[in-house]
Amino acid sequence: MNLVKQTIDGIYNLLLGLGVTVKHLFKKAITVQYPKERWEMPERSRGVIVLLSDKETGKLNCTACMLCARACPVAAIKIEREKNPETKKFEPTSFDIDTTVCCYCGLCEQACNFSAIKLTGKYEFSVYDKDRLQYDMDFLQEIGRDVKYEKKKKVAKKAVKKAAQKKKEDKAGEEEKSQEKSATKPSAKADAAAEDEKPADSEQKEESKTEDKTGDDKNEPDSSEESESKKE
C-alpha cells in the first residue's frame, strides 16, 4: 500500500514539475537580444573611467591633486603634474589609467573634489590589443566629452548644508554621495528616452541637486585630508 501511495505521489509530483515548465513555455522571454537591444544603465553605473572637462573652456577639470591616485587600491592611476607658472596651480601633464588592473571600485571618483574623474555607464570597452587598455589623458578626455555631469560645488558649503538639513526634516533624505544626476546612456536611443523623462522629474532633480551637495560635504574629510597631505 505504501508503495502504491509513493508511486502515486511521485507521479503527481512529476506532473507538477511538467506543469511548471510548460507554463513557462508560453511566457514572454526575459532575456535581451544584446547587440540589437540594450539595457538602459542606471545612472550610478560604474563602467569605463573618463576624465571630465569643463564644458565652456574644454579644459580638464583635473587639478592634479593626486587624491585619486592615492585612493586607488590597485595603483592603477599614474599622474604627472607641473605647476603652471601663470596661475601657480598644478596641471596634469600625463594621466594614465591602467584599466587592466582597475577594479572599478569607484574610490577615485569618491576622492575627487573637482568632478574630474568619473566612472560612467559605458560598458563596451573590449579591444583586440591589450595595450589599448592603458588609457592616457587624451583618450580619457575624449571619451569623457559627451558625459553629462553636475560639477561639485565647494562654495557656500555651510549654507547649503543648513538648507539641506531643513529640507531633511520634511522630506526623505535622498542624499547621494558624489553622484552626478545625469549619467551617460549607452546609446543614443536611451539618451532620447532620458530626454523625454526629464521634464517629468525635473522638479525632483532640483531637489536632489541641493541634496547632492549635502552628499558633497561627506567628502569633506577627504578634502581635509587633502590639506593634511599638503602639509605633509
Binding site: 512529476l14 514539475g17 511538467l18 511548471v20 515548465t21 510548460v22 513557462h24 513555455l25 508560453f26 511566457k27 514572454k28 522571454a29 526575459i30 532575456t31 537580444q33
Partner: protein, 346 residues
Amino acid sequence: MLELDPIFDAISEWLASFLPPVVVTIVKGFGTAGVVLGVLSLFVLFFIWMERKVSAHMQQRLGPMRTGWHGALQTVADAVKLIQKEDLVPSDADRAVYFWAPVVCFAAALMAYLVIPFGEGLIVQDLNIGILYVIAITTFTVVSLLMAGWGSNNKWALLGGMRSAAQIVSYEVPLSMSLIGTIMIAESLSMITIVESQSGPFWNWFVFRQPIGFIVYFIAATAEANRTPFDIPEAEQELVAGFNVEYSGMKFAMFFLAEFINMFTISALAVTLFFGGWMAPFPFLDFIPSWIWFLAKAFTSVFVLMWFRWTYPRIRVDQLMGFAWKFLLPLAFLNIILTGIGIYIF
C-alpha cells in the same frame, strides 16, 4: 497519397534495361538509403532547432535568433562549423576503435528506419519480423558507445561507456517485454500489420488497450536513447561529457545526430505501436495524408521527450538499474499476464 514504391519500381525497371540485376539491387538499395538519410537529416536538423527553441522558451529565453527566421538555420551553421573543425585524436587512443565508434553509432541509428512506416505504403521494407529487427538494431548503439569509451583512452569516457553498456543492456529487457502485449493483440511482428490492426477511431489504438505497456515502453525507450532523466552515459555534471568527451568535429556531430535520430526512432516506434501509426484519429479525417498524421504524432512524442529533458534532474546510475529491474520489468510481465487474460476473455 504519396507513393514511393512505383517511382522506385519505374527507376529500377529503367535501370534493369541496361544493367545486370545484381547492380540494380545495389543501386536500388543505395537509392532508398539515400532518400531515408536525406529525409532523416532534415528531421534531425529540425529537431535540433526544436530542442533549442523548446528548451529556451521553457527557460524564458529566446534561443537562437540570428541565423534565419528565429534561428532556423542555426543547426546548418553549426554543422558547417563542425565539419570545418579540426579532428583531434588523443595520442594514446585506440585509433581504429576511436574512428569506427561514431560510424557504428550513426549506422545503427539509421538502420532502424528500414521498417518504420512513415505513412500508408511509405515504408522501405515491410519485414515480417519488424519489431524484432528494430529492437535488435537499436542495441548496436551500446557497442558504439563502449567503443567510444574504450577507444578514447580517457577515464571519464570509459566510465561513460561502461555506464551506457549497463544501462542499455538493462533497459533492453523491459523494452522488449513491454512490446509483447502489443504483438499478442496484433498477432504479428510486422509493422504494417500492427498499424492496420489499430484502424478505426482513436480508441482502437493500442495505447488504450496497453496503457501499462506504453508507459513501460516509453520510459525504457527514453533510457535507451540516453535522454534526460536517463542520460547517465553523458552526464555532463558528473562525467564531463561521458563517452564523447574526446570527440570533436564531425565525429562528435555523428554522435549528436545519432542521438536525435534515436529520439525520433523511439517516437516513431511509439506512434506505430501504440498510437495507430499513420491512422487518423477519426476515419472522416482520412483526407489528410497519412504521413502528416504520422509526423504530427511523432513530433508530439518528440516534444514530450524534450519536455522531460528540460524538467527533470538526472537519476543516479544504480537507481537507474534498480528502477529497470525492480520496477519496470515486473510491470512489463504484469502487462503480459493481463493481456493474456484479456485475450482469453474477449
